[in-house]
Amino acid sequence: MNVVLFAVLTLRELVRRRLVAAVALLTLVIVAFTAWGLHRLATAVVDGAPIADAGVRGTAAGIVIMLAFLFSFVVALGAALVGAPAMAESIANGEILAVLARPVRRAEVVLGRWLGTVLALAFYIAVAGGLELLVVRVTTGYVPPQPLTALAYLAGVAAVVTTAAIALAARLPALAAGIVSALLFGLAWIGGIVEAIGLALGNARLADAGTIVALIFPTDALWRGALYALQPAVFGALAANANANGTVVNPFSVTSPPPPALIAWACGWVVAVLAAGVAAFRTRDL
């Protein structure tokens, strides 16, 4: 019950502080821009003839993956920048003092802030991601294989980064918690590339190092889930081929979805880190 109160407070702050309005405006600009670009692509004339449908779709598929990649960074940064202050600000300005003197569990504050932030980001992912996919479909006729699964994986990325930001912010100032969780996301992404290189070169040590990073901060595994859900089957086949030859490393294609064990790990990770955040908050002096 109190968890919902804190979640609503978090959401209300985002709306009141005009963050929602600003982000909505920017997103619309970006959507309009992609719509214009894709429309030009679909109606382009090369050597006196329009580009073949297959060509347009293939290009659109590549663009969707590029957009999703950039989007995953925006979402991760958003999670760090929204989650950390949601938790740390009220501690820094002393607002939390009178609140915690009420019959409130400290865990309810942490979980409520988490829930509010994750809901806000999930909503943003659904709306902005959905709009972009709609624009792609209307302009080029292309629909990626599993668009909803991809958006769900991106929401998972947001949840992981939010969890880190909030757990850190239970003890650290907003700026530190936000920057560290954003850096962890970047580190996980680099870890994913290292793993891909290791696999391509048949270097087990490199591949293991990447896997360890993926276990410590499971955003890259989730990003690959999104990637797998967005790429046409032919991309995956090409990637498998390249891996087999040990030639090209393409971080923008994967051969298989993340194994269920990794997804379970990511879920367990969120629960464990959130629990650690609650413990850190419960044992601190204010």
Partner: protein
């Protein structure tokens, strides 16, 4: 005594090497107003934060309303005005209070909110965002939050620090109303005049230690002598309180022109300064 509002036994808090509060043993009866006095850094805020469950004691124990400090259900029956705080500037005062009313599960929230807004004189501006408030108005909102739901104990940590003289006298009147209602008041302050006027009892802390405890009268000591202003200025006469009229009568008989008479009393301030005078 089971009827104590607050009972602390050797309560202590260390932050690393700093003993913020050492060995606080204290009882506050229900309905009593205790002035918790001390210079800056004495450990006043630390004591209150331990009593409301925000800071974990590193030694000793304390009970509030008969339950160990931090007990969740008991926290519904106390109010707390922190020393340093800023409410979110994007909420209106009424919304801040509504949020706290929900945390308290108040049944008639709208009425309770109006009551405390009137109490602190913030009713007209209650719909405005806190971001547009002066420091003094924020302090009044903090007081309103502390009074919401008619708590049995109110902890006020330097309630007048941001207030102008009018605000200060308003707070004094407010504390007197609380006392009249039987609310226990724990008042942190370094403003002696304020404490002297409203508190039944005083506890003086300095550098984490209690240096004196007792009623205001006991601390300031009995009246001794009288100060009289004559044509040529103030003169002091040593006498027992009962002899003051005789002293005045004698002066008049001797032809002195008397402009003012004041009993010669150690003020709480004199006593306080003597207690916390650092060697």
């Amino acid at each position: 005594m089971p009827d104590d509002a607050i009972a602390a036994h050797a309560l202590a808090k260390r932050y690393g090497r700093i003993g913020a509060l050492q060995d606080l043993t204290l009882r506050v009866a229900r309905g009593e107003c205790l002035g918790f006095l001390g210079p800056n850094g004495a450990g006043k805020s630390t004591a209150v934060k331990m009593l409301v469950g925000l800071v974990r004691p590193t030694g000793g124990a304390a009970e509030v309303l008969g339950k160990p400090v931090g007990d969740r259900a008991t926290r519904a029956r106390i109010g707390y005005l922190p020393e340093l705080f800023r409410y979110p500037d994007w909420l209106a005062a009424r919304e801040v209070l509504a949020f706290h009313a929900r945390l308290l599960r108040l049944r008639d929230a709208a009425r309770a909110i109006d009551t405390v807004l009137d109490e602190v004189g913030l009713r007209e501006r209650a719909g405005d965002r806190v971001g547009t408030y002066s420091k003094g108005m924020q302090q009044r909102l903090g007081l309103a939050v502390a009074l919401l739901g008619a708590p049995e104990i109110v902890f006020l940590d330097e309630p007048t620090s941001a207030l102008d003289p009018v605000g200060r006298s308003d707070v004094r009147a407010l504390i007197e109303r609380l006392r009249a209602r039987g609310t226990t008041v724990f008042l942190n302050s370094h403003l002696l005049g304020e404490v002297e006027r409203v508190c039944d009892r005083v506890c003086v802390v300095d550098r984490g230690r209690v240096v004196a405890q007792g009623t205001v009268e006991a601390l300031t000591g009995a009246t001794r002598g009288v100060r009289v202003r004559l044509d040529d200025g103030w003169r002091e006469f040593d006498c027992a309180p009962a002899e003051i009229p005789d002293v005045i009568a004698r002066l008049v008989r001797e032809g002195a022109r008397i402009h003012a008479v004041e009993p010669n009393q150690t003020t709480l301030e004199d006593r306080f300064l003597a207690l916390v005078a650092h060697a």
